[in-house]
Structures are given as structure tokens and as C-alpha cells.
């Protein structure tokens, strides 16, 4: 069953790009108050449908990661989960973050992981099976954790505000990043330099 789902999932990035184009085209319209009202009225149903479709895609892909046994298949399922999360960012009016998710996560981290798979397996489809007792223990822990989290989410009172239609513009994000968050930003860049040197040192060829 898992195998048959792997191919239609490859259409996900195109769908995401189309959505992004749609979202950025709709952005100027939401600045006008009248247009914004119309957008939230009709956008409610579309948002609901999109949330359920892509939430299901994310969850299904995550389960695919958990249930498939070959690492290459796991990486492909992870791709579906990451793309689904990117669409959820669009729905949460975080356009820039969604683009970053696609560029850095799908384009960078996932490719890196696949390189790791190729470099560390004699055959890329090699399997390592887990003992059934360990799988049952993991099931028990995860179900308990999920029940606990659901209970907390259900009982807590979230001070939910109705979000504005368009969300804040990307320019505000850049401004925050270079004023309030300047120090973490610079630390992150130093960290990336250290990681680059460290990874090259760790993975170097022995002479």
C-alpha cells in the first residue's frame, strides 16, 4: 500500500509552487479593507479544505516514514511531510518561512540526508530490522505521549485572537531580524561557518 502512494506524491512541489504564486498574487488585494473582507469570507472554506488535505498529507507521510523499512523510501516520505508543512506555513500566513522551508529543508537538508544514505550503505536498499518487542514498546510510549498531549491541548484555554487577513509583510520579518534579533542572527552565521569546517574535517579522507 505504501508503495502505490509514493509516485503521486511527487506532484506535491508543483502544487506548492502554484499555491505560492496564488498567495503572492493575492497579497496586494488584501491591503484594501473591502477586498480583505471578501477574502476572509470565501477564504474560510478554502482554508479549511486546504488544512485538512495538507494536514492529512503531512501526517500520512510522517506515518510512511515510520512504517517503511528502507532508508531511501523513508527519505522520500520525509519529502512529502516537509512539503505538507510548507503548505501549512502558507495557510498560517508565513509565506517567507514556507519558501525557506522548501529551499533549505527540501532542497538542502533532505538532499544531504540522501547523500548520507548513499555514502553509508553497501546497497541503498539494505534493511535493518527492529525487534518486535522494541516496536511494541515504542508504540506504547508514543500512544501514551499522544494521549497526554491531546489532554493538555484539550484542557488548556488558549487566548486565541482572530488573525488579520494578510498577516505581517516579509519586510517586517527582515527588519526584526536585523534589529531585535541581530545577535542571534550573527551567532547563527558564525555557527554555520563552524559547522562547515567541522563537517569537512569529520568527513575527510584519511591519508
Amino acid at each position: 500500500m505504501i508503495r502505490s502512494f509514493a509516485h503521486p506524491m511527487l506532484a506535491a512541489p508543483f502544487l506548492v509552487l502554484a499555491l505560492w504564486a496564488g498567495a503572492s498574487a493575492a497579497d496586494p488585494a488584501s491591503a484594501a479593507p473591502a477586498a480583505a473582507g471578501v477574502q476572509t469570507a470565501t477564504g474560510g472554506v478554502a482554508e479549511t479544505i486546504l488544512f485538512y488535505v495538507f494536514g492529512a498529507l503531512t501526517l500520512m507521510s510522517a506515518l510512511g516514514v515510520a512504517l517503511s523499512r528502507s532508508v531511501v523510501r523513508m527519505a522520500v516520505w520525509l519529502f512529502g511531510a516537509l512539503a505538507g508543512v510548507a503548505v501549512l506555513y502558507f495557510l498560517l500566513a508565513a509565506n517567507f518561512l514556507a519558501a525557506i522551508q522548501l529551499i533549505v529543508y527540501v532542497g538542502g537538508t533532505l538532499v544531504l540526508l540522501i547523500f548520507g544514505v548513499m555514502l553509508t550503505a553497501k546497497s541503498p536498499r539494505a534493511r535493518l530490522d527492529t525487534k518486535p518487542s522494541q516496536i511494541w514498546a515504542a508504540w506504547a510510549v508514543c500512544v501514551l505521549l499522544l494521549v497526554a498531549l491531546m489532554t493538555v491541548i484539550g484542557r488548556a484555554e488558549w487566548p486565541a485572537q482572530n488573525p488579520e487577513a494578510g498577516g505581517l509583510p516579509v519586510a517586517a520579518l527582515g527588519q526584526e531580524l536585523l534589529t531585535t534579533y541581530l545577535v542571534p542572527f550573527e551567532v547563527a552565521s558564525v555557527l554555520l561557518l563552524v559547522v562547515m569546517i567541522g563537517a569537512a574535517y569529520l568527513a575527510r579522507q584519511e591519508k
Partner: protein
């Protein structure tokens, strides 16, 4: 049912988080464990962005999520380098075999 509110995002994130924990617990391949970590980080990011959206007014959640993405990329780079080294030394990627420090 028609209104998407904060709770639905939180429930979805909790489910993805638990699946990520399951992956980390059951996979014996080091790269597989890394993939589980990525799922957990994504679940946390969904929470951050959802709270940012529904609390309104600021961008703190989105910027934190941005830093999480950057750190995840850095973590993956170092972890893959360590996995390659592990494979070179032990000729396997099975984490259960990395027990040479055990007494």
C-alpha cells in the same frame, strides 16, 4: 468543524511529534534516526508558527522557526559527517553496533 483554529494546528503538530519520536525509537539506521529528528523539529515549528499567527501582532514565533530551520540544517550536516565516519570505522550504519566504549 469549518473554523480552523489554533487547536487543530496543535493537534496536528502533536501527532507529527509523536510519529517522529516513534521513528527515533524504532530505527536502527543512524540516518533513519536523523529523519525522525527532522520530523520532531518540524512539529515544533508548526507550533511556533501557529502560535505566532493566533497571538497576533509580532513575528517572534516566525523568527524562532527560522532559526530552528537554520540549526536543523547545521545539525544535519554535522550528523551526516559523523554517520560517514561511523560507517568508515565500523563498516555498518547500525547504531546498535556502536558499543565499543561499553565495558
Amino acid at each position: 468543524m469549518l473554523e480552523i483554529d489554533l487547536t487543530r494546528y496543535l493537534i496536528l503538530a502533536a501527532a507529527v511529534f509523536c510519529v517522529g519520536i516513534f521513528v527515533m525509537m524504532t530505527k536502527r539506521n543512524a540516518i533513519g534516526i536523523l529523519i525522525g529528528v527532522e520530523l520532531v523539529l518540524n512539529a515544533a515549528n508548526i507550533n511556533l508558527v501557529a502560535f505566532n499567527r493566533y497571538q497576533g501582532g509580532s513575528l517572534d514565533g516566525q523568527i524562532t522557526a527560522l532559526f530552528v530551520i537554520v540549526l536543523a540544517a547545521a545539525e544535519a550536516a554535522v550528523a551526516v559527517a559523523i554517520c560517514v565516519n561511523f560507517y568508515k570505522n565500523l563498516s555498518t550504519i547500525d547504531v546498535d553496533r556502536g558499543d565499543s566504549l561499553q565495558g
